[in-house]
């Protein structure tokens, strides 16, 4: 009987199919998201063309991901909970920003009962936002279809890119609880909200709606999504939910977040900025961010135009002056007059190489989305009681052919319960999404370790993270971030990127050191004053006893020593004042810079 049961699935699944999917499962795990996406797209394409071939079968994208969920963040039960929450919150924030809405998100995570998997709990995760809502027709695509995305390949700094994450969460819920995502959504135009369950049709990579009905919802617009999954809830630590939520609030100053986690009261973090981040507008590509093939392909979009016009129109930061510089660098003027579709490959190459050697303005700030020093400064105070902090927002620059902007915040916590020699807390962000796993392999951590923090007054063992009650937050924003894996856990670091992060950290450390110096001086002064008070009478009394001196001599000596050491204390006071002035100067400069920036932004608007 048992034998028959065991052999049943084998019979029902065609042998060839099993072989094909095994082959897919054996594919290298560490492929990048983009590659996985391309791979999946190729699979779909192959499905239609090669179905007639004997021995080779194809599977749907959904089938591929349902068998390889570990590649997209579901490799452990703890990660499953965090990834599900993360994908839902990312989608909410992206949707709000695209529509100019100040996001207000409510997160609920609770244990419902024992899970179906071994040693797991059944966990309910609900994320509700005040976003624009989803058109009922799009609901199955958003939650139930892989690679259905409004953001794929746009070259913008949005959190999500390919349209894999939330569908993967639905699949995980379906696999472990046999129920997909419960969605309630309402757009501004709708009178009633749509309530339904979305499931992934794994064989066909499409979303299927179940139990669809209309309900009243007091919200004018918004979406609520609920997953019932197997997993384990980890609240504390670097991989914990609290760390994720704290990080999310830090890099999203405009977010109001309500959250209710197990064994905790409902918690609200109010927004500190009322500006919705300006959605990076589509800019023409920057020549320094391209490879030769892309450069040639880009020309095909323009049809029969002159090369000069193509360069000026089709690229950002290329203008008349650039053409002159190209000319000086050896490109004949005749080339600019030629039609772009008549250009030979060798001419493209010559042009491309010349343009790479010409200094161009950095890519437009508009293509990367910065949080800004001012907003970060406000946001960092939401992490808890903080003694002092420093924030640095670097200018956008190019690393590995891609525009990138680094922002760093370093803060010292008032909480002294953390052991003094414990390493600092590191918060890593990629396009404003917290990264919480595989810290040691991340470019951000490498950059932090390469800085000599001792120079700024922090303790640091050799080639390690600095120590003490500090938070170091590093945000990397770029339309194209190179992740080490599809679950976007660590940033792959080129030397250029690590150096750029390092510079931001050094700047921030320098600013921080002024606070630390002032504090050291204040402590020194306090200790000196205490020394004078404590030791002067003891020293003089001891000397008087040994020399059998009279009371009048003793009195005189006491006055003398107080005078003498008082001078030392005054010197320290002066040093403290100097340290204080330096700090004031730095603060004044920073606020001046910020107000100047704000004025500029207003003028631009």
């Amino acid at each position: 009987m048992d034998m028959a049961k065991k052999s049943q699935p084998k019979k029902s699944a065609p042998a060839t199919k099993a072989k094909a999917s095994d082959k897919k499962a054996a594919a290298p795990k560490a492929t990048k998201t983009k590659e996985s996406a391309e791979e999946s797209a190729a699979i779909q394409q192959a499905k239609s063309s090669s179905s007639s071939k004997k021995g080779i079968t194809t599977s749907s994208t959904a089938e591929y991901f349902s068998k390889n969920l570990q590649q997209v963040g579901f490799s452990s039960q703890v990660k499953a909970v965090l990834t599900t929450l993360k994908e839902a919150v990312d989608n909410s924030l992206d949707a709000c920003e695209e529509n100019g809405i100040l996001p207000e998100v409510t997160v609920t995570v609770e244990k419902v009962g024992p899970g179906s998997l071994k040693n797991s709990d059944q966990v309910r995760i609900r994320v509700e936002d005040n976003g624009p809502g989803i058109d009922p027709e799009d609901v199955p695509k958003v939650f139930g279809e892989y690679l259905a995305s409004s953001k794929f390949g746009r070259g913008r700094c949005s959190r999500g890119q390919q349209g894999i994450g939330i569908s993967a969460a639905t699949t995980w819920a379906q696999l472990t609880s046999a129920v997909g995502a419960r969605v309630v959504t309402k757009t501004e135009k709708m009178r009633k909200a749509v309530r339904c369950i979305v499931e992934v049709d794994i064989k066909n990579n499409t979303g299927v709606l179940k139990e669809k009905d209309s309900v009243d919802w007091e919200k004018p617009h918004g979406t609520s999504v609920e997953f019932l999954i197997d997993g384990r809830i980890q609240l504390n630590g670097e991989a914990g939910l609290i760390s994720y939520l704290n990080g999310t609030t830090l890099v999203n100053p405009h977010l109001t977040l309500h959250y209710k986690l197990p064994e905790m009261e409902l918690h609200t973090v109010e927004r500190v900025s009322n500006t919705v981040p300006e959605i990076p507008s589509a800019v023409e590509p920057h020549p320094h961010t391209m490879k030769l093939g892309e450069f040639i392909a880009h020309s095909h979009l323009f049809g029969r135009v002159k090369v000069g016009a193509w360069l000026k129109k089709g690229f950002s930061r290329v203008h008349e002056g650039t053409l002159k510089e190209l000319n000086a660098a050896g490109i004949k003027n005749g080339i600019f007059e030629k039609l772009v579709d008549s250009l030979h490959e060798s001419e493209f190459k010559e042009l491309f190489m010349a343009i790479q050697n010409i200094p161009l303005m950095a890519p437009s700030t508009k293509s990367v989305l910065s949080i800004g020093e001012d907003a970060m400064a406000k946001s960092i105070k939401r992490l808890g009681a903080i003694d002092f902090f420093s924030v640095v927002s670097r200018k956008p620059t190019i690393c590995d052919f891609k525009p990138v902007q680094i922002e760093v915040a370093v803060a010292r916590l008032e909480d002294r319960s953390i052991e003094a020699d414990a390493p600092v807390q590191v918060l890593r962000f990629a396009n404003r999404v917290p990264l919480q796993f595989d810290k040691s392999a991340c470019a951000i951590v490498h950059a932090i370790q390469s800085v000599n923090w001792r120079a700024y007054g922090l303790g640091q063992p050799k080639e390690s993270l600095p120590q003490g009650p500090y938070i170091i937050a590093v945000s990397v924003v770029s339309p194209f971030i190179r992740f080490k894996n599809a679950s976007k856990e660590t940033i792959d670091g080129s030397d250029e990127l690590v150096e750029e992060i390092r510079r931001a950290l050094i700047q921030s450390g320098q600013r921080l050191s002024k606070h630390i110096r002032k504090e050291v001086k204040a402590n020194e002064l306090e200790e000196k004053l205490r020394h004078i008070e404590q030791f002067c009478p003891i020293l003089v009394a001891g000397l008087a006893r040994i020399t059998k001196a009279s009371d009048s001599r003793r009195k005189k000596a006491e006055d003398g020593i107080a005078k003498l050491l008082g001078r030392d204390a005054r010197d320290t006071e002066k040093e403290l004042k100097a340290a204080h002035d330096v700090l004031e100067e730095q603060t004044a400069k920073a606020s001046q810079k910020n107000s100047k920036k704000a004025a500029e932004a207003e003028v631009e608007a």
């Binding site: 020394h531 030791f535 003891i538 003089v540 040994i546 020399t547 006055d559 003398g560 003498l564 030392d568």
Partner: protein, 385 residues
């Protein structure tokens, strides 16, 4: 200060009072007191073979009273008071005991709480600081360590000790059997005399080997003093050797291992003192002591078992490194008079081999007195450096 060693019980309190008076006077005038202490390091060590030991140069370490040093200064005066009381009553203590005494004082007088020592290292540092200020030995402040080494055997030597209460204790070493006499605390308080003429004093690096020689009848056959140094000589051993040299005027010979560590850390300290004890070398070194062996040429002559310095023996490797430095900047080894010793050091550096004192036992394994015979023969022939 060391010249006045015998009368230090009067000298130290006077010096201390003078120092305190000067400090108090400066403070009365609101003038910043500065205290000077001798710099005890090799760069301030002078060696002259006519003097025979390291003497301090002119370099001083200045300690100025300021907000940062007021704590150390207050602690020093506090500890000085305890030490002066000991000198007054004749009580003696170890450093650890002084640490607890200071704890007790603070317990009974809460005003002194800020002076409290967190551990013995802190109080030890203050005691050493006082010694540097007064340029005196710890022993002169009645603070003694439990000195090791110095087990001495002789059939001729008689030691007379004057006790603090004035009583005299006379020890005839020939009456002790195989038990050794061991000098403690301040050997300078002892008077030495010889019942019969003593020909020489032999200082053996290993106390065990010294004991073996005596058990086999060395002191019965030779009119001598035989002493086990017990590794790096303690203050007691160094002072004891100096006393034998000065009071009995007998030649002294050192017999130990042939290696860089013995040459620099044991023999050189015994003969000329050390850089860290510049102010006390006068009473704690015996410049007339000669290096009897093991000499490099003995290896060939007696076919002794030697072996290469182990790469992983940290102490030996360090000693060799120190030896090459010493050849360049140690005034003792740079002095022409000590050329013979420098040659040995050079040989050790070149050959990277070592030979132990016990190797003499290989010469005739069936004759237990063979090492004795070799030693006596070498002394007779003048086969030493």
């Amino acid at each position: 200060m060391s010249k006045n060693l015998m009368s230090s019980s009067d000298e130290i309190p006077k010096l201390s009072k003078d120092l305190c008076n000067r400090l108090l006077q400066d403070l009365e005038r609101a003038k910043r007191p500065v205290l000077y202490a001798t710099k005890c390091s090799l760069d301030n060590a002078i060696y002259n073979h006519k003097v025979g030991f390291f003497t301090p140069g002119s370099k001083k370490v200045a300690t100025e009273l300021n907000v940062s040093s007021v704590k150390k200064m207050s602690r020093a005066i506090f500890m000085l008071e305890i030490l002066l009381r000991n000198l007054d009553t004749g009580a003696v203590n170890t450093k650890r005991e002084l640490y607890y005494i200071s704890k007790g004082e603070i317990k009974h007088n809460p005003d002194l709480k800020p002076l409290d020592f967190a551990d013995q290292d802190e109080s030890d540092e203050i005691i050493d600081f006082i010694c540097e200020l007064l340029e005196c030995y710890r022993e002169e402040l009645n603070c003694y360590a439990n000195d090791r080494g110095g087990q001495t055997y002789s059939q001729q030597l008689v030691v007379t000790e004057t006790l603090p209460d004035g009583d005299k204790a006379v020890v005839d070493l020939s009456k002790l059997g195989t038990s050794p006499f061991q000098p403690k605390n301040r050997p300078q308080n002892l008077k030495l005399s010889a019942k019969k003429k003593i020909d020489f004093c032999l200082i053996v690096e290993s106390e065990g080997t010294a004991n073996t020689l005596v058990a086999n009848g060395f002191t019965k056959r030779h009119n001598s003093i035989l002493m086990g140094a017990g590794g790096v000589p303690s203050n007691a051993v160094r002072g004891w050797c100096k006393l034998i040299q000065d009071q009995l005027r007998v030649p002294l010979y050192f017999y130990g291992d042939l290696d860089a560590y013995t040459m620099q850390n044991i023999f050189r300290t015994l003969k000329a003192g050390s850089a860290s004890s510049l102010i006390r070398n006068e009473d704690f070194s015996a410049p007339e002591v000669r290096f009897l062996g093991v000499l490099p040429e003995d290896i060939k002559k007696y076919d002794l078992n030697d072996y290469p310095v182990k790469e992983n023996d940290a102490q030996e490797v360090r000693a060799l490194k120190k030896a090459s430095d010493a050849m360049k900047n140690d005034p003792f080894f740079l002095d022409k008079k000590n050329k013979g010793l420098t040659q040995i050091l050079k040989w050790l550096l070149e050959h990277k081999r070592r030979c132990e004192q016990q190797a003499y036992f290989t010469v005739d394994p069936r004759d237990p007195t063979m090492p004795e015979k070799i030693i006596v023969e070498k002394i007779k022939r003048g086969d030493y450096v």
